[in-house]
Symmetry: C2
């Protein structure tokens, strides 16, 4: 009946003694955040859920901030995959690829509000997403940045500093995501069009 689940749980629990408590802490934290929000993330609660003492997390993270940092990095890794996948599925046209990434960005924020908050929240300080950011955040940003460079090659994006264009797009879409303006696809498309016009070479 519940044999499989039980044995999975048992082996999982035993496995903590083998060195993957760290991984389990991150996974369970992401799950808890998704279910109950960031405020519900508590070292004690996460310990309870993993049938582990409340101080066990300190074997793997120096403090709660370190756990949050790991959650953020895991979030950015997933985020980069999502953006890349959206871009690659959108065909060769620059407009379609950019729009697909914008939609994926906003959807990620909508579906993972907790992770999104940890990734971009007060604790972190990502700023320009290049120098000070984690390598995971940089990788996500690079997915967009490389697309902008391609857009410049095909004349869809004006000449000049590709980094500035990429930051501009990132900020625009990030604003949409942060203000949770994503339940109206007509508006999102409206923004995409205006954004592309803003990027295009001056006449």
């Amino acid at each position: 009946m519940a044999g499989r689940a039980a044995s999975a749980r048992a082996s999982r629990k035993r496995a903590y003694h083998h060195g993957n408590l760290r991984e389990a802490l991150i996974e369970e934290s992401v799950e808890l955040i998704r279910e109950e929000g960031v405020r519900a993330l508590t070292l004690r609660e996460i310990g309870r859920r993993l049938h582990v003492s409340r101080t066990a997390p300190y074997r793997h993270f120096i403090d709660k901030a370190a756990l949050l940092s790991a959650i953020s990095k895991a979030g950015f890794t997933k985020f980069a995959e999502v953006l890349e996948q959206a871009r690659n599925s959108a065909g060769p046209d620059f407009a379609n690829r950019l729009d697909a990434m914008a939609r994926a960005y906003v959807r990620f924020a909508a579906e993972n509000p907790g992770s999104f908050e940890v990734m971009f929240g007060a604790g972190s300080e990502p700023q320009y997403l290049d120098e000070t950011a984690s390598v995971e955040a940089k990788r996500a940003f690079e997915v967009l940045h490389s697309e902008i460079r391609q857009g410049q090659d095909t004349g869809m994006v004006g000449p000049g500093d590709s980094l500035a264009y990429a930051r501009l797009v990132w900020a625009m879409v990030h604003g949409l995501a942060t203000l949770r303006m994503f339940d109206d696809t007509a508006f999102t498309d409206f923004c995409s069009r205006a954004l592309r016009r803003g990027l295009s070479p001056a006449l």
Copy 2:
């Protein structure tokens, strides 16, 4: 020597019994947030600072969330004033007025990170800044929205839904502010130009 400060403090303290503890709680919270960040905002600490018991705030706010809500509203009131003042000081030219508001928006976020976080943070749910938002938030948004309408009248902004244009600009600038991309004025100006190009009527 310290007589004036002392008597001011004394009359201030006595005044709490006269009904302005509520106001003092908000002011002191904003001050504390500015100094130490949102995480430092504690009902107990705020009570300490005002020489009042830790449960005194409950006479004026049902819980901590209600205090935060009041802080948010006060922040939006200030925010609206700042935006309006920036616009009015920028002369008659649309581009200058829009750029001035963008700069003021970003500067407000830079100078009041704590208030900004409370205003737009996880607790609140402002979304489109019109229907669900507080009247204070709506007022701030209206400063921008009315300017967009004027831009349409003078042909600087394309025809159609002025609300959509206003939301677009808000999201763009909000992204800059949220990602703390404000230490590079050259980049901010770059974004302003692209933004205005995106708003302009299609050819």
